[in-house]
């Protein structure tokens, strides 16, 4: 099941009916003062970003938010659907659930773009995406995307680009190197993997074969497959934007067990959910050097940040 991304919608083609009235009012107040003697802006970026933006003549316009409360549908096919699934330990993707996660995020980002378009922005920088579950009973998520809209001089874009979580400083460095951030891309995969008999035995206890070291191949493959499918979808979104590459990919993995009905038996199966989010970039020109030149090696006179492998949760 391919989850294909929608092309970005042009907000000017259609009144943004899905934005709340107070948002329209807030944005209207900001736009009304654009070009006046006392222009007003809001920004979620720090002082350094304000300095950089001013230095390269980019206008900070205002904070923009997109949000969506999305209920993810159920999928009734479970381990008991077909006995052969369990016997052969055949895992499968839960496509409706996968699509649900991706749709919720798409709606939030689309509204973020609509708000930015109303401000006349060309780019949204420093985008934060958060998602939380707001119902115990059902799989209902609130997805919120927030960022800061800005306008580059001489760039007119009907649909502003979402420059992912990149700061203004990072955007500036990218542009100097001949690249442009064109969009926030993401991919999900939700997967169910039933356990093989051997795995159930190995996890059952001492009597089952729990003494030996062994790889659990079907789970390795399931974890692997889930990650690969999610990154594959992120690639598809990047391709759809005409990108040359993706930067700053952050992965998030969630897994949940399905145990036997008595709650004591070995491992029955696993639900896996993997999300990747990154920023797609396009190469516009090839300057002489990618990095500013000359680069200097600098020794910072302060204690280094503690390094080391990430701690276990």
């Amino acid at each position: 099941m391919p989850v294909t991304p929608d092309p970005p919608r042009d907000p000017k083609d259609r009144p943004p009916a899905d934005l709340p009235p107070h948002a329209l009012e807030r944005l209207r107040q900001i736009t009304a003062r654009q070009g006046s003697e006392r222009p007003f802006f809001t920004s979620g970026l720090g002082p350094a970003a304000t300095l950089t933006a001013g230095g390269c003549d980019w206008r900070l316009l205002g904070q923009v938010i997109g949000s969506s409360v999305y209920q993810i549908g159920g999928q009734w096919r479970t381990v008991n659907w077909r006995d052969s699934d369990r016997i052969e330990a055949r895992g499968y993707e839960l496509d409706i659930v996968t699509e649900g996660y991706m749709n919720g995020r798409r709606l939030a980002l689309q509204r973020l773009q609509e708000q930015a378009a109303l401000l006349g922005a060309s780019t949204v920088a420093g985008v934060k995406l958060t998602s939380r579950r707001i119902s115990e009973e059902h799989l209902v998520l609130e997805v919120v995307a927030s960022g800061t809209a800005l306008r580059e001089p001489g760039v007119a874009r009907r649909v502003p680009e979402v420059a992912g979580n990149l700061s203004v400083e990072a955007l500036y460095a990218l542009r100097q190197a001949g690249y442009r951030a064109v969009g926030l891309v993401s991919g999900d995969s939700v997967y169910y993997q039933p356990a093989k008999t051997a795995t159930m035995q190995a996890t059952y206890g001492i009597l089952g074969g729990a003494m030996q070291n062994q790889e659990l191949p079907e789970f390795s493959q399931a974890f692997y497959d889930t990650r690969e499918r999610a990154i594959g979808r992120l690639n598809a979104q990047a391709r759809a934007l005409g990108a040359d590459g993706v930067l700053g990919i952050t992965p998030t993995m969630v897994s949940e067990v399905q145990s036997g009905s008595d709650g004591t038996s070995g491992l029955f199966g696993l639900y896996l959910h993997f999300t990747v989010i990154g920023t797609a970039v396009v190469r516009e020109s090839r300057p002489a050097a990618a990095a500013p030149s000359p680069l200097e090696t600098v020794v910072w006179l302060r204690p280094p940040a503690p390094a080391g492998p990430p701690e276990e949760p």
Binding site: A170, L174, Q214, F223, I231, L234, G245, S255, E256, G308
Partner: protein, 275 residues
């Protein structure tokens, strides 16, 4: 001990991985597409160092960790557990290297090795290796002596600095040791009540376990004909075992000098206004 590596092997990779990597390589009608977990500065510095990013590569293994009955009053290594912790990491690393090979990479930078334990599996752990595969633009050889892609835990910034200093990374080297620390006998505990005293068996146990892990990491670097190891750390993990069983895990990046003469540039000193 590390198992031999066959370049071009695709063992353990799922179909979706092959499809993703083939799609990223591009074709006559399709452009290349790279993916990475680089920040903008890492991205630009890796390019400045003469490399181009090819793609995010990963390897994973879900491993059932066996069991070994320790003798309660003895300091001893639990070889079954050590073996499990090492073998599972190696499986994940090898799969990541296989993915990099499929992309035609020279090496992988920013490698992270994670061990994730979940509430659902007391004796199970997920081992994950993840990093960004890169390729040298001028086609210089960067692979290891046994034809693996080089691996490095260093960030893009550190990679640039290392090359500037006249070294190249060879491999991510690691050593693991799971150790059972002996319980104190009742007699010992009574004789120590209220006194300042070094607990010799604890000292020796933890000391010994650290040394074993470090020695194994060094042995790997020697095997890879490296000149040294940078960024080495030793971490301690309980992995949900009982309180007297502990893993010491040493990891670092083995490096070797670049061929030819090299001149060090004196660095510029900066007094930061922060921190």
């Amino acid at each position: 001990m590390r198992s031999p590596y066959t370049p071009g092997s695709e063992e353990g990779l799922p179909e979706s991985a092959r499809a993703r990597l083939a799609e990223m390589r591009g074709s006559a009608t399709k452009r290349r597409l790279f993916t990475s977990d680089f920040s903008v500065s890492e991205f630009l510095l890796v390019q400045d160092a003469g490399f181009e990013p090819l793609g995010l590569v990963l390897g994973c293994s879900i491993y059932h960790i066996g069991f070994q009955f320790p003798r309660l009053f003895a300091n001893q290594e639990l070889e079954v557990l050590t073996q499990a912790m090492y073998h599972a990491r190696e499986l994940a690393m090898t799969r990541m290297e296989e993915e990099a090979d499929l992309l035609g990479a020279d090496g992988i930078v920013g490698v992270r090795l994670e061990v994730n334990r979940h509430a659902w599996g007391q004796h199970m752990a997920e081992f994950l290796a993840i990093g960004t595969a890169i390729r040298n633009r001028s086609g210089q050889p960067f692979r290891t002596h046994d034809n693996r892609p080089f691996t490095s835990a260093l960030s893009g910034q550190d990679f640039w600095t290392l090359l500037r200093a006249g070294y190249r990374p060879v491999s991510l080297v690691m050593g693991s040791c799971v150790y059972h620390v002996a319980l104190q006998s009742i007699g010992q505990s009574i004789s120590q009540i209220g006194r300042n005293v070094e607990l010799e068996n604890y000292t020796q146990a933890l000391y010994d376990a650290r040394e074993l892990a470090l020695a194994r990491m060094q042995a790997e670097a020697e095997e890879d004909q490296a000149a040294g190891i940078v960024g080495a750390t030793i971490s301690e993990h309980g992995h949900g075992w009982n309180s007297h069983t502990v893993e010491f895990f040493a990891i670092g990046t083995a490096i070797t000098p670049l061929e030819g003469e090299h001149r060090f540039e004196p660095p510029t000193l900066v007094l930061p206004l922060t921190g």
